[in-house]
Subunit: 366 residues, 2 copies
């Protein structure tokens, strides 16, 4: 995790000062790009068709195919009840509409975020405790409340008991073994293909001025003017994406709620989970969260780390109040929403994989 952070005094439109943690590398990027304007950033870019690929896990067709099989395979969960796709449903927004929080045999306290475009995040989990997609996947596989395989040995046993996988691991990794590293790498390779480019907003940025509505244009403007874009900028509107100036593992955080004390805190239980402090133990990280991306956001209700807000319009009002101290009026909400709607991109076509089989044996889980 990048420790080189800079406390940038950052003014919201109400003129009050708050502090924002920003990496030196990002600051350099911002200054060099000349895009700092009135302490509100307007670093907005179209979504690339593919994210930065880590050097130690290059994309290959064999790895992507294996990753897709693993992604759709419920046998990766200890009781065969959940696949990755159960909570990150690629037929929908890449999330679960709040389902996982109600699972009986598991305690999942935070909302499952979309995996579409997640490769444009530099850190993973709401509290940014994973520095790479591979690391986040490994944690999912072993976590007793998710796939619950609990140890690498058990994962390896499970995979070896599905005889059909062997040939796919060999194709993807040659001499490397069937283990938690190769499994996480294959899954990460598949997840890095989940990109939704060419949204109306991207078309607009590319010069088609008619690609978004007048409401969306005003929404974009006030999104910038009011200060939303202080945090929600970059290709994924989640702060800086990994790239030359900003490394994978460099976190980009924001206080939420920034203004404590509104009625929303209680109504939506915004404060009982205090975020990143639980990872670092550093009191300065209390209520600090990774900034979530905004692309395809109309597809990913419910909202916030606890999935407590069902309606995007309400989520916009809450963000105005608890982050910026603003009471957004109905026109503001309508127009910001129109802008957000323009961020829905084109979903990739996904052919359902054929899962490797066990040749006339049931996979024993007890």
């Amino acid at each position: 995790m990048n420790k080189f952070v800079y406390d940038l005094p950052c003014f919201n439109s109400g003129g009050e000062t708050k502090h924002m943690r920003i990496s030196y590398a990002l600051l350099l990027l911002l200054v060099l790009s000349g895009s700092v304007y009135g302490f509100t950033f307007s670093v907005v870019m179209t979504l690339p068709h593919s994210p930065i690929i880590p050097k130690d896990n290059p994309q290959t067709p064999a790895k992507i195919e294996l990753g897709k099989q693993l992604f759709f395979d419920p046998r990766l969960s200890v009781d065969k009840s959940l696949s990755c796709n159960s909570c990150h449903n690629l037929a929908a927004g890449g999330d679960d509409d709040g389902m996982a929080k109600h699972l009986e045999q598991r305690t999942i306290r935070r909302s499952a975020p979309s995996l579409y475009n997640v490769a444009f995040q530099s850190v993973n989990f709401w509290d940014a405790r994973a520095h790479s997609l591979e690391q986040a996947i490994t944690e999912h596989l072993l976590d007793k409340n998710i796939m619950a395989l609990q140890s690498e040995n058990k994962l390896i046993q499970r995979l070896q008991s599905i005889k059909g996988y062997e040939v796919y691991y060999q194709a993807a990794f040659k001499h490397a073994k069937m283990n938690v590293q190769t499994t996480s790498k294959a899954l990460a390779s598949f997840i890095r293909t989940l990109v939704t480019p060419n949204s109306q907003f991207d078309q607009y940025l590319n010069g088609d001025k008619q690609a978004i509505s007048a409401n969306a244009k005003r929404g974009y403007k006030i999104f910038n003017d009011y200060g939303c874009m202080s945090c929600h900028f970059g290709v994924y509107f989640a702060g800086p994406a990994p790239g030359p100036a900003y490394q994978m593992g460099d976190g980009f955080y924001e206080l939420f709620p920034n203004y404590l004390g509104s009625d929303y805190d209680k109504k939506y239980d915004l404060t009982s989970d205090d975020g990143r402090v639980q990872v670092t133990g550093d009191a300065a990280d209390r209520y600090l969260w990774r900034v979530p991306g905004l692309r395809n956001i109309t597809m990913t209700a419910p909202y916030f780390h606890n999935g407590s807000v069902n309606d995007l319009n309400e989520a916009i009002r809450i963000m105005g109040k608890v982050q910026l101290g603003l009471n957004l009026n109905d026109n503001d909400v309508r127009d910001i929403r129109a802008f957000l709607e323009s961020l829905t991109g084109e979903y990739p076509e996904i052919k359902l994989p054929r899962l490797p089989d066990t040749h006339g044996l049931s996979l024993q889980v007890k």
Copy 2:
């Protein structure tokens, strides 16, 4: 349900008499086809590329697409936790490897069968209580232990709350409404596309004598000679498929266990569920079951109505013993298995659908 059944004295290879219920229509078919030989049927046919389509539910691309969306949509279950695909996983054998029986919030006592080629069955459920695929689907949607929507009103409310569905129902059904009938029809239309033709055995039947191994050939021969094919015949090896001579809704049943009292009864709990008598209340239907199909059987462990047998080889031994009174030797098991393995067909390519969305709203389930 067809009540015109004929008690056919049917001899197994041990020479003992048992009774088999068979419809007049089927008997006519068998006699006309001249394929009754020594009271062991050898009516074997290649799997067609599509099943008989009911006149009141013709296949259309719009209906199939809607059915596919519904099939993969967990919002069809009351708590958003299960889609049809959860228990009938089309990426695998079209079943669930025994998973559903372990679900915490549901009581599912019988094994989820594969939906691949299910349209070649004339009745549905292990106890044949549904006379059509549409009827079986309706029961799944409302059953408190499956999708659990419990009433048609709740199903309609649920569907109407997913705004994105409206346009797809209109495309599929024009003036017909979004209700349990149209929903079941769309799902049935999709399920009727789940056909796996062109297995090695089909190629063999079509004249390619090298398409199956010598073991499989011997397995096929003893499968016939020993009497397995008395029940497991037809395109799906599940008895007669719906067609000109045999109507949808005509059931084809067999006693299981046919020979009570073997050690297997207790070991695999084969008798505590007494099958079709629970539907009809007729004592003559005790331990009567719909004959299950055999295609792709290496992909659909565990076996039997209660999913109690994990290994296909053991399932073959059990069938020899409790159905035919035979102790199959290892060579028999190996060869029958080789024949069964040759029944695995070509799975259709399935493009993951995009589920209709709720436009920035979470679907409320409480």
